[in-house]
Amino acid sequence: MSLTIFFEVILSLVVIYALLSILVSLLNEFLISITNTRGKVLFAELQTMLKDHYNLDYAYLLYSHPLVSELPRKNKSHHPVWIEASTFAPAFIQTIGNLAVTYQLPMATDEKNGTAELMTRFRLYAEQMQGSRLKDMLLNFHSVANGDYAKLEAQLKDWFNNQMASLTFEYKRKQRNKLLFFGFVITLFLNVDSIYLAQRLAKDPIMRTGVSSKSTAVLEHFKPMVDSLQAQYPKDKTIQQNAAKFNQDYNLIMKQLDSANVPLGYSKTSVPYVWFSKDKQKISSDFRKELSFMNVFLYLAGLAISMFSLSRGAPFWFELLSKFVRIKSGGGKS
């Protein structure tokens, strides 16, 4: 096999994986949107961040604050999927400050002067908390701010952003298993045998050219969708509307693959059906049509490769595809 053919086979496989992995990522996003995984993970992270066994559940109280409780969400039982640092900081300061009024702490409310200034209330409540790490942190933040609200808010924003950076890493780690599952689902549903695909691509120049020539078009057409995966299933749409959207995306992707004659799915002439066909001899292809240990092993290995490949998700494959397209087009930077 020449180097050019080898490059085209690899490029074609990347195009196929890129397209199919969109389906994997979309299914994952669909599940996330139904189960509100992001909202739950965010809430759990905030509970850890604001954990205080000796006082109150400040994450819960933060979520009761109008700045957070009025954030858009699917329904009343779903947490918001994301909170900006610029929302978190004032909402948290006000939550703590309001507790000083709720508990009627001395000097928090005064018949003569009304409610005390927010920074004062923040300090008053923090001071009366039972000893805890959170109490120390709140008093330190207040002390460093030295009465300057903007400084207190800036510190809280930094704290929040640092916590969320580790949350993103942890979240991605947790998504791996789900992507693996959906990789498995798509592989089985479309009968994606990577070894067979590679062999066919190597032997069939028309199919190889057909797929590899689509690389630029696929990149240009689908990259925006991959870049905004999170926004694919808007929270204001119903599950039925989002399911219809998924169906539309699925058809679009399958159209691209069908037009290049990529051998996906199940038919009487494809593995594994062909192994049990009575008219085996009439089938022109000599491709693994006999039921043997080696053929079964290669088929299962091909499925396993597909499953692991697709589970890397669309962003990975599109990043790789863009590199290949740059090489193909002469190595220029995009």
Binding site: I34, L56, D57, S77, H79, T102
Partner: protein, 404 residues
């Protein structure tokens, strides 16, 4: 109008293992996912498509109950119920509930009652007389001098109007550790609402028999009132039926905590409290003739704390009526009995008796959503020909105002 019995605590204040135990471990760690799916808009639509509303009405109602219970804040639950009372200028008695000790894992995520109360206090601060919060007390949270100090601290805020206890969660109402609450309520002539039906939530941990004990210490040790209670406990301890061993058995055993007679020592010792034995024993006890229908001898024994004599059974509904006639500080409410319209004629008869001035209107939102939605319960009551306009007014206006 005052609704004297509603709850707005959400799932956040329920122990993590509560739903799993309720589902007998069938769904295991996936219980949360399935319950959320069932309670979601899509889940409910799916049930509708499957025709579940007709075939399994209980399932669809339970889905609605879960949906409301999963609201993110207590404020949202309050707004939800208030939609059913538009134009009626309604106030609500908010019964807080400490569920931190109802299971072996209740305190796993730290005590939750203070957070629940902090949010309720904030709601009261904002809404004033739209709500009347009752402070939930559990002797395992605090007792004795600590409880005394805690109650006084909470009362100093001016946000609370009464107390709420829920003995089926694993304690006796006469528990000696509750003395500061009863004394404070008596000295200040305060209302105390207690759960008084065989059904509802109960202690789900493994140590129910330790909690039951043999001769629990009482705020009023007078043997005239305590001896029958001790005998009932002993009788049920001696009973070796099948319910003794499984978790479901807890529900039957916890009747020992909720039994109406447990309040006699309290009613005698604290004449100035207003003690509401809520639910009037429950709709099942109001319609007691159906209570033992089709039950096995073991089930009858479980239900009747080991006695097992259906013919001699005095329902909790009848017991409460007797106690109300005997003790002027004994009240009741008709929450979660209103949901069953068959109870109306009997409740109506009560409203024509001398104890009518101590019966309160309440709905037990959002618990009653398991059977009927709030609007239906309210509409059924307001349109019921069984009650005269004066009786209705007495239930939701006159009596409730005197109570809170």
């Amino acid at each position: 109008m005052i609704n004297a019995h509603i709850h707005i605590f959400n799932y956040h204040f329920i122990p993590e293992d509560f739903l799993k135990v309720r589902l007998d471990g069938i769904l295991g760690s996936k219980a949360d996912f399935f319950l959320r799916l069932l309670s979601s808009k899509a889940g409910r639509k799916l049930l509708k498509i499957l025709g579940a509303q007709r075939l399994f009405p209980k399932v669809t109602r339970y889905a609605e109950f879960l949906n409301v219970g999963l609201f993110e804040t207590q404020d949202q639950l309050l707004q939800h119920i208030d939609k059913s009372y538009q134009g009626l200028n309604t106030s609500y008695v908010l019964l807080t509930l400490n569920m931190d000790y109802m299971s072996d894992q209740g305190l796993k995520g730290g005590p939750k009652i203070e957070t629940q109360l902090a949010e309720i206090m904030d709601i009261k601060r904002r809404l004033g007389n739209k709500v009347y919060p009752f402070l939930s007390i559990d002797p395992r949270h605090l007792g004795g001098a600590e409880l005394d100090a805690w109650i006084k601290q909470k009362w100093a805020t001016g946000y609370f109007s009464g107390f709420k206890i829920y003995p089926a969660l694993g304690f006796y109402p006469f528990d000696e550790r509750l003395k500061p609450m009863w004394e404070f309520a008596n000295a200040n002539k305060l209302p105390v609402t207690t759960h008084c039906t065989r059904f509802g939530v109960n202690y789900i941990g493994s140590g129910v028999w330790n909690l039951i004990g043999t001769r629990p210490l009482s705020v009023n040790p007078d043997p005239v009132y305590m001896q029958p209670i001790y005998e009932r406990i002993q009788r049920y301890r001696n009973y070796q039926g099948p319910a003794r061993k499984d978790i479901q058995g807890n529900a039957w055993a916890c009747n020992l905590f909720s039994h109406p007679s447990n309040y006699e020592p309290i009613l005698v010792k604290y004449p100035d409290i207003k003690l509401c034995l809520a639910h009037f024993g429950g709709a099942e006890e109001v319609l007691a003739e159906t209570l033992f229908k089709g039950k096995t001898e073991d089930e009858v024994k479980m239900l009747d704390n080991g006695v097992g004599n259906a013919a001699a059974y005095i329902s909790w509904f009848e017991l409460i009526k007797i106690m109300m006639a005997k003790y002027p500080n004994c009240w009741t409410d008709i929450s979660y009995t209103l949901e069953n319209t068959k109870t109306f004629p009997r409740l109506s008869a009560v409203m024509k008796s001398p104890i009518a001035d101590r019966v309160l209107f309440g709905t037990d939102f959002f618990m009653e959503l398991q059977d009927k939605d709030e609007s239906t319960v309210l509409r059924n009551f307001l349109n019921a020909p069984d009650f005269s306009a004066t009786e209705k007014l007495q239930l939701y206006e006159v009596n409730t105002h005197r109570f809170v």
